[in-house]
């Protein structure tokens, strides 16, 4: 099983080399290499799932930098979920990328696919990290490896946004996360992820709340306000990057890391007993409300989706901060549910751009009649964001609310209700406009659906969004293991 863990990291790396070599032969071979790599990775990751479900916790020690600081992996349910999610969606995303990149005649496609594969390797590394140092190693790697993808276009505007991207993510991680990690190693003597946490009896009171703050704001990828600015900036990237990385792999790496640190470093019960950690709930609630309000005012579709992501990420943080088992399960379910919904929305936005070059919300009037598949998928994704059944978003909201009631946490309950209303307020008008709006006379050239590859991809993810509503029991069972069954 150790070799399987290693394989999960090496397959994308080998894939990147294969993509580079295949590109010298032909574009088709290069795309084949991407797809084969994606399938191989997902297959390998999924092959670990049965063992994790059976309660095994495989680990692997790769390097010992110095005694105490190790590059080591340990798989547990949360990481398994994240890895399975990212690797599976990479297959769909690769199909979509082919349609998008060719449809838009993007330059430097080889570089794009190579760094995409490398980014996936980093995401898997984050998912399987067995200690804080390993997590940090792959966290930084993911930031740096996605930079070429964000700056793909290479013009002055893109570079400025890419600078914001890199600047915010690196300054938070070096400035706050690294000191937090070093402090943890100093206080606890290690940074290994241990069920129940490693800080109990070692750190209490205000210092604990402060350490939590260093972690939460240091993990800029989770986009808790005010360190969310990089996410709208990242929207200059080609849409497949926004879809898989900035709706799934990168941002989920952020909230996943925070959840994992709360569960395995702080310990849910230890943190619950400490009033100094209470601020996290308010920070997350604030982010949810404010980001939703900002999203209301966005005209650019991708930026709107980005702010929606900021809000949805804080759902996960807030759920984790409720510090009740049901809510923690809700947090992990939301990681999945939001991934399916948001990747669908980005796929749709990219499909619209590919077919019509439209990027702004008002331009979308009547587009549903030209691109019925795309807009149908968009509608499903948007409903999932709002949390309407029968979509995946409903399931996670249910669990988060249940957890909030369990804790009598009225702040969380109120925030969820308010943000549901806000989500509806910015998504429903778009849906209405797209299906029932009247197309402007000067709306540009006649166009139909996006390339077939893109449409197939977004149909798959829309279907997943609905299927997750129906078949979510395995995920919940898996995550319940952390807390010994849904209490």
């Amino acid at each position: 099983m150790e070799s399987t863990i290693l394989a999960c990291l090496l397959i994308p790396l080998a894939g990147a080399c294969a993509i580079m070599l295949a590109a010298r032969v032909s574009d088709n071979l290069r795309e084949t290499a991407t797809l084969v790599t994606a399938v191989a990775l997902a297959w390998t990751v999924w092959s670990l799932v049965p063992d994790i479900v059976d309660g095994e916790r495989p680990g692997l020690l790769l390097f010992q930098v110095v005694p105490g600081i190790e590059v080591a992996f340990a798989i547990e349910p949360l990481g398994m979920l994240f890895a399975a999610l990212a690797s599976s969606l990479w297959i769909v995303n690769s199909i979509y990328s082919i349609g998008y990149m060719r449809g838009n005649k993007e330059k430097k496609q080889t570089r794009f696919y190579v760094f995409f594969a490398l980014s996936l390797a980093a995401a898997i590394g984050i998912a399987f990290a067995g200690n804080l140092f390993t997590l940090f190693l792959f966290y930084e790697a993911l930031t740096l490896l996605t930079y070429p993808l964000v700056s793909h276009k290479g013009d002055a505007n893109t570079l400025r946004s890419a600078r914001v991207y890199l600047g915010v993510l690196l300054s938070t991680s070096i400035g706050l996360l690294l000191p937090a990690i070093i402090l943890t190693y100093m206080v606890a003597g290690s940074g290994d992820f241990t069920p129940g946490g490693i800080l109990e009896g070692r750190l209490e009171g205000p210092a604990l709340g402060l350490l939590l703050a260093l972690f939460v704001f240091g993990i800029g990828k989770a986009a808790v306000m005010p360190v969310h600015r990089w996410l709208p900036a990242a929207m200059v990237a080609p849409t497949p990057v926004s879809a898989l990385l900035h709706a799934v792999a990168v941002v989920k790496a952020g909230v996943f890391s925070i959840t994992k640190i709360i569960v395995y470093v702080f310990g849910v019960e230890h943190l619950f007993a400490q009033p100094s950690s209470g601020w996290l709930l308010y920070a997350a609630a604030f982010t949810i409300i404010v980001a939703s309000l900002v999203a209301l005012r966005q005209q650019n579709l991708k930026r709107l989706l980005a702010y929606s992501t900021v809000a949805q990420l804080s759902y996960v943080i807030m759920a984790a901060a409720v510090l009740k088992p049901l809510a923690e399960i809700g947090a992990s379910v939301h990681i999945v549910a939001h991934a399916f919904g948001k990747i669908t929305l980005f796929f749709a936005a990219g499909a619209i751009y590919t077919a019509s070059k439209k990027t702004e919300v008002p331009q979308l009037a009547g587009i549903g009649r030209r691109m019925p598949w795309t807009m149908a998928a968009f509608t499903i994704g948007a409903l999932s964001m709002i949390g309407v059944p029968p979509t995946g978003g409903f399931v996670s909201k249910w669990y988060i609310l249940a957890g909030a009631f369990q804790a009598d946490n009225y702040v969380a309950i109120f925030t969820i209700i308010a943000s549901t209303a806000l989500n509806a307020a910015y998504f429903l008008p778009i849906i209405f406009l797209a299906w029932f709006g009247r197309e402007a006379a000067d709306a540009g050239p006649d166009h139909g659906e996006a390339p077939l590859a893109s449409v197939i991809a977004l149909t798959i993810t829309a279907a997943l969004t609905i299927l997750f509503f129906l078949f979510n029991a395995p995920v919940i069972e898996l995550e319940s293991q952390i807390f010994g069954g849904p209490a």
Partner: protein
């Protein structure tokens, strides 16, 4: 074998020193280069052998001509010297192996034999400083290495190198003279030049004014040679206008060896004996380190010339080294010594990448390297990866020393958090100045000179070896951290 082994400390100096005159006799420049490289590789092998011995037996002593100390000159290699012997000889061997094309391009053909001879003398001098246990002997070797390095720096094709070298010479001589004055005063008071002997005897006269003055002269003089802020004035231009390959060698070694003497003298001789010396030393060095880190990083952020940008970065990195030392704790000194090793790795890789660029580009300002990544992808990839090590991204050598430094600083008490802030801010400044180069090379507009190609293979190979070492020692750091920890224990007086 064992007979040879006993002589390793002295061979470390003799091999390069005696090869130097022979080089001049070989008139052919290729032959000269080959012989120099061979000598340097031998020297590296000796350093590695010494290092292995030090790991098992802590200290390798040697009595010159079998005269016992304190009458004879004593050589001694411990963990601290072994760590720096690895840096100095490793850098020299690596650069020489790869950089024939670069040196051949920068230096007139007829001067090359002399140049290589001077290179070996510089190497011999640096090695001599590291192996000797005698204060006056250190001065002699310091002068040998300094005079030789003035020659190799001034061999560059750019005439602006001459004022730069002149400044370097004046400052270097002032520093060395200060050191000599200090050593003279100590000799006057203690009657000995052997470091271990001084350490024993200085206690009786520690409260007398000449010793205080000596401590001042030695510290200031060596700080000048080590380019501790604000005595760094000579460094940026000397690095900028020297031949590219020489810059690699100097940046990796020259200041570090001066820091070696500074730390050895202060921790070994003064610290245990002079009352309140630790406080004076810390109060002297800590603010200067912080200022140096911040000011030099700021200058680097706005510097248009690539080599000078990296030179300013070196001034900032010296600040890290002295910051660690000024904490006067085992953790702090460990971090400091470790950073000497790791910074040498990162800077050598960066300057090697610059030497690669220098093969194709005549001028090396940021505006000149616009879009160069397209023509020289391997060079720029190496530059980016080495830059990550300089920034301190996890997985690289630079990260390991940053980890140790932050840990040491946090342990140091109430001011810890503020010091962490300085380290963090300057790391981010490093991101800014490295990324300026990255943006220029990858996204800048290339103008003219369309027909430039990748650097010659040996140079590229040396660059990538340096990059690989940065990652190797980022993931398996037991050798440098082990040596640094032992050395810190020795300096702090917990080991013989």
């Amino acid at each position: 074998m064992s007979a040879w082994q006993a002589h390793l400390p002295v061979l470390q100096v003799i091999v390069p020193m005696l090869t130097a005159p022979l080089i001049i006799l070989l008139r052919d420049r290729r032959l000269c280069w080959a012989a120099t490289t061979l000598a340097s590789l031998c020297s590296l092998a000796i350093a590695v052998a010494l290092c292995i011995e030090v790991v098992s037996s802590h200290r390798v002593g040697y009595e010159m001509g079998s005269w016992p100390a304190p009458w004879g000159i004593e050589l001694g290699v411990d963990a601290f010297s072994a760590l720096l012997l690895l840096v100095v000889n490793g850098a020299s061997a690596l650069v020489l192996t790869g950089a024939f094309s670069s040196l051949d391009r920068d230096i007139d053909n007829e001067r090359q034999p002399l140049f290589y001879a001077a290179w070996l003398l510089a190497l011999a001098g640096l090695n001599g400083i590291l192996v000797t246990a005698d204060a006056f002997n250190i001065f002699v070797f310091m002068e040998i290495s300094a005079l030789a390095s003035y020659i190799i720096v001034s061999a560059g094709p750019d005439r602006r190198v001459l004022p730069a070298v002149f400044k370097y010479l004046i400052m270097g001589t002032v520093g060395a003279t200060f050191y000599l004055i200090g050593v003279g005063l100590i000799y006057l008071m203690t009657g000995t030049l052997n470091l271990a002997d001084i350490e024993l005897r200085i206690y009786e006269v520690a409260d007398q004014r000449p010793i205080m003055v000596a401590a001042g002269f030695i510290t200031i003089g060596l700080a000048l040679k080590a380019a501790v802020f604000p005595l760094h004035q000579w460094l940026p231009n000397a690095y900028t206008f020297a031949p590219n390959a020489v810059t690699v060698f100097l940046a990796a070694c020259a200041t570090k060896v001066s820091l070696y003497i500074l730390l050895r003298f202060n921790f070994y001789v003064f610290q245990p004996n002079l009352a309140d010396h630790d406080i004076q030393f810390a109060y002297f060095l800590l603010p200067l380190s912080l200022l140096g880190i911040l000011v030099a990083s700021t200058v680097a952020m706005f510097e248009p010339s690539l080599k000078r940008l990296l030179a300013w970065s070196s001034v900032a990195q010296i600040g890290y080294i002295t910051l660690g030392a000024s904490l006067i704790s085992i953790a702090g000194v460990t971090a400091s010594l470790l950073h000497m090793f790791n910074h040498a790795l990162a800077k050598a890789a960066l300057f090697l990448a610059v030497a690669c660029l220098g093969m194709s580009l005549r001028r090396l300002r940021l505006e000149d390297i616009g879009g160069v990544a397209k023509q020289m992808p391997w060079t720029m990839a190496a530059f980016v990866l080495a830059g990550l090590s300089l920034i301190g991204v996890p997985g690289t050598a630079g990260f390991v020393s940053k980890w140790y430094l932050i840990t040491a600083v946090l342990e140091s008490g109430a001011w810890g958090a503020a010091l962490v802030a300085v380290i963090v801010v300057s790391s981010l400044m490093a991101v800014v100045y490295i990324w300026r180069v990255v943006e220029a090379a990858y996204f800048g507009n290339s103008e003219g000179e369309a027909a430039i190609g990748e650097a010659p293979l040996p140079l590229l190979f040396a660059t990538w070896v340096a990059v690989a070492l940065n990652f190797y020692f980022g993931l398996e750091a037991s050798l440098p951290t082990g040596l640094a920890e032992t050395a810190a224990l020795i300096l702090m007086g917990h080991l013989p």
